[in-house]
Symmetry: C2
Subunit: 234 residues, 2 copies
DNA sequence: TGGTTGAGAAAAATCACACCTTTTCGAGAA
DNA sequence: TTCTCGAAAAGGTGTGATTTTTCTCAACCA
């Protein structure tokens, strides 16, 4: 499919725009600072064409805008397209990754209970079975303490749930959830073994969705995200 | 600041990329269809540079990708950057605007209760006063049946609330909420006069945030979005 | 004094064109 | 039939020239 079928965190060799994007997001380039195409050509040793292409990308991410007679103006954070995969990735790489991580988690906390309810209403037979299967897989892997594999199943579970609701805007948050879940495991924020309550809740969510019981689905997802919330507050 | 400091729905004279974007999102161009730079140069009477620039933008919105020797491949909906302001705008302009509207509303329903809670925790003094002021302004305008002005205040209220939570990803949804609220009024989906319960709930949310009472803020916002949910189900 | 206008210049935007690179596909050889 | 290799197609890159926008600043009028 699309060449960028990778997740948020994958590092692509995008060259100039990636480097500049990181500088803007990391704060090396302050809002209001002004660049010129000429300076970029010099700095990165690229032609005008490439410089312009890169700028075009950053512009569409809201990281800068170009103004005739002035140059390329770096924008403030509130102008960024914070839902663009590359912006999310660069934010997570920056010094303020902690803040980015918290924000992504808060988004997840807000969205997933509603997503569970929608999934209960709109899931297909196939999605239902897959969700049940993933939930029991999670139990198996979790109880065995195989954290890495557990995480993969966890990500798949949440992705599928978001997708099953049939709302493309929720589906698009799959990468966000994936990022948060992998981040949690890779930064050692997971207990040795997933809590039994978490495993139960995943099971219950899956069953709720299977039986099209919106309330069960939502409430158990709420349990899960409340746990995330508690963890964030530390 | 940025030249596109407008909301989602504003029409910018972006030329080629906007026209193409609308065609892809509207379905005139089906996923998998293939264009070439050459054909775009011909169709829009622009040079290669401009055609490439436009393509670059659409590519970063996930609406197509370019492949050597093949051309420009139109992508399917699940690849689109549905959070990009221009994509949201084009979706709302398309024939499937109803679906887009529902999805945006569902997102709003999911996010706002959490946003209210965050606002209660993080709002500044100034934001608090402004929210209280907006809530009473809404009551005044609502009771007077001045729907258009009411809507403006309503948008300002929700925008500020999202911002006050201090989460940039929530703040960025201000445009979404604005779009949904203006859409509701302009499509005649609002009652003659806003329901008193809605006015009360806005007041209560503002008071909750003012007193940093997360529960009051959340619960009353929940009342508001539950009403939106009910309206959607018709 | 103060606002308006106009000339000049800076920088992006566009155009045109030549050339490079990758990928595909078919013809012909093994 | 399969393999190889070459040509063609399409995007990618580099460059110079030209156009357009808009900022600056100074001159000019009220």
């Amino acid at each position: 499919m699309a060449p960028q079928a990778n997740g948020i965190a994958a590092v692509r060799p995008e060259g100039m725009s990636a480097a500049l994007g990181r500088e803007i997001i990391g704060g090396t380039l302050q809002p209001g600072e002004i660049l010129t195409l000429d300076s970029l050509q010099g700095r990165f040793g690229v032609s005008r064409t490439v410089a312009r292409d890169g700028v075009k990308v950053l512009e569409s991410l809201g990281l800068l805008y170009s103004k005739r007679r002035v140059g390329l103006v770096v924008t403030a954070e509130d102008q960024w397209n914070v839902y663009a995969p590359s912006v999310i990735a660069w934010r997570l790489e920056s010094e303020h990754s902690r803040k980015a991580y918290v924000e992504l988690s808060q988004l997840r906390i807000a969205v997933e209970p509603e997503a569970a309810e929608l999934a209960a209403q709109h899931r297909s037979e196939e999605q239902m079975e897959e969700l049940l299967a993933l939930a029991s897989k999670m139990r198996r892997l979790g109880e065995a303490g195989r954290l890495e594999e557990f995480m993969v199943a966890d990500v798949a579970f949440h992705r599928l749930l978001l997708e099953a609701g049939g709302n493309t805007m929720f589906t698009a948050l799959g990468d966000v959830v994936a990022e948060v879940l992998t981040g949690r495991t890779h930064h050692g924020l997971m207990p040795e073994r997933p809590k039994p309550e978490a495993l139960d809740a995943h099971d219950a969510v899956a069953r709720g969705i299977a039986q099209q019981d919106t309330r069960t689905a939502r409430e158990n997802m709420q349990l899960l995200v409340d746990e995330v919330r508690r963890a964030l507050e530390e």
